[in-house]
Symmetry: C2
Amino acid sequence: MQATRSTPTLEDVAKSAGVSTATVSRCLNSPDRVIENTRMRVLRAVDELGYTPNFGARVMAAKRTFTIGAIIPTMENAIFARGVQAFQEELHRRGYTLLISSSAYQPDLEEEQIRALVSRGADGLLLIGYERNPEIYRYLERQNIPVLVAWAFSDENDRPSIGFDNCAAMRELAKTVIEFGHRKIGVISGITQGNDRASQRLKGIEDAVANSLLDPKIMGIIETPYEIDNGGDAFEELMKNEDRPSVVMCGNDVLAVGALRRAQQMGLHVPRDVSITGFDDIELARIVMPSVTTVHVPHREMGQKAATQLVKMVENESTGVSTELQITLRIRDSLGRIARA
Amino acid sequence: MQATRSTPTLEDVAKSAGVSTATVSRCLNSPDRVIENTRMRVLRAVDELGYTPNFGARVMAAKRTFTIGAIIPTMENAIFARGVQAFQEELHRRGYTLLISSSAYQPDLEEEQIRALVSRGADGLLLIGYERNPEIYRYLERQNIPVLVAWAFSDENDRPSIGFDNCAAMRELAKTVIEFGHRKIGVISGITQGNDRASQRLKGIEDAVANSLLDPKIMGIIETPYEIDNGGDAFEELMKNEDRPSVVMCGNDVLAVGALRRAQQMGLHVPRDVSITGFDDIELARIVMPSVTTVHVPHREMGQKAATQLVKMVENESTGVSTELQITLRIRDSLGRIARA
DNA sequence: GAATCGGATGTAAGCGCTTACACACGGGGC
DNA sequence: GCCCCGTGTGTAAGCGCTTACATCCGATTC
């Protein structure tokens, strides 16, 4: 029972246990350096007072927080959820706490969140995609904060990253689409501005079209934010074209499902009248009818390995390597074959 | 250009600008208390050195962080996503940063996350649902951290909260289901242990059944974690019953969609052969076919008001009031009428 | 022109913790 | 019995910041 009603400090505990603050601190941080008897006494005092260390003070003195920050573009749809969940689980296993922030796909907001997390003592950061203001990379370097880029991988970028090659993945899907006989391709892409994943995916389609001997054509490209209804609107727009695409390839599953629903509302049968493809393989793609053909991304694996690697970087066991993950195509009902002409 | 390669401190800035640390601090925190000329000089120095305040130190000295913490049970499905997004937006508008953690529906993990957030200096906390270890509430009280409970509201609980009455909401839905002619009701509930929302919803169904003069019966109740496939498994289980339910009411939309899909795989037509209802009105409920009858929760409104209110509590303008939000039923295709016998 | 005042700035005392270093003590080795 | 060593604790110096209080100085007032 103290006089002051404020939260107890190390010193209070020390006093109450009849030891020095150093001993209390040691009890908490390296218990084996304190003899059993003393330790018991201290721990009892901790308990009685309901003491919790003040993090700010601890950070200041020890320079480590065992906190990792992650900034993801959105929580509204499940794109990042599974990966982040796995990331958190693995971090937890290793004794780190994850703090998450969302940037709503806005670069300046992301920057703000990065600074917030860093100044709150994050030991390391997980960021989605390479593309951002070089300024902020400089800042992170200066602050000496290890950064791991996830959901992306590219040979051309030597920043440590874990993910897959968005361009190659989408190219492969597009190749398959073309092999299925499609020659008129509509594209609904995410906003490419400031989003390398989106632009790489788009490039993948363009590459596949350019490299194919079968003379496929891109009938139209619409960029739109990653939300269901936007996918629908874009789809409707593409279908206004006199010469309708036989397949609409979407930048992710959310857009694809939006397109799919709109198609059905417009009385079009998928895949008989038009095929639709997505990207990411989130649960939604499997759940809708017809199920959506998409690119499967190993979200859990990515999250888990990201954690392992980032921790290594934080603990100075690695300056950071890049890991490429393999994607696989999931050919489902929303993609149909076009009969030979 | 300093000799040391470490991050610059207030003192470095002060030295470089030829003023005291106090002046630098004032420049950053209350610029109008410093004369223009000096301020410019200081800001230039800040810029040149790439200085960012050390948060730990700042917290320790100032006792305020402008950080709010939120711990949500899961990010894997969209239940909390929209609300949290709105919460974050409103906080941002008011100058606060949101840090999120997920507890994976595990009370001990939640406790850990609460402590982590508090010790990292959260000024206030948003928690989902009332039910948790009293110990942790005591801890928060002792630490003097305002807590707002969201996604729940109950007259019987005087803890500040914002949300809706889960029991009454589900009761209303159940009443409608009964009015639609259903007499044999199957229930797929979330795990009620440690989750007051789940148990209140279950109670709502039981109340409606008990109070109805039409003699409806609950044919079976299965509790299962909130995941799609679990919903499917539970549905299959319920349908093994000789006397099959005519409607399966689910604890949330995720379970409902799982049940719906499984029904279709089993060759059952929804709603002709069996009706299905959900709760939450997440996007998924609207997207599947048939669309799912559910309880609409004003997620965005809840998130936004939660932010407003929690900030008030943090800023000592309110000791916290409780706000009840209105839910509405969304009667969609997955609920059919049973013809009079 | 002396007294007074107020605004701009400096001084320095913490905030709560960690940890290098100092110290005390008991037991072997000689 | 002396020296040395290792072990368990205590002492105290920061960590980087905010802020109450002290100080200075030019402007105002009479």
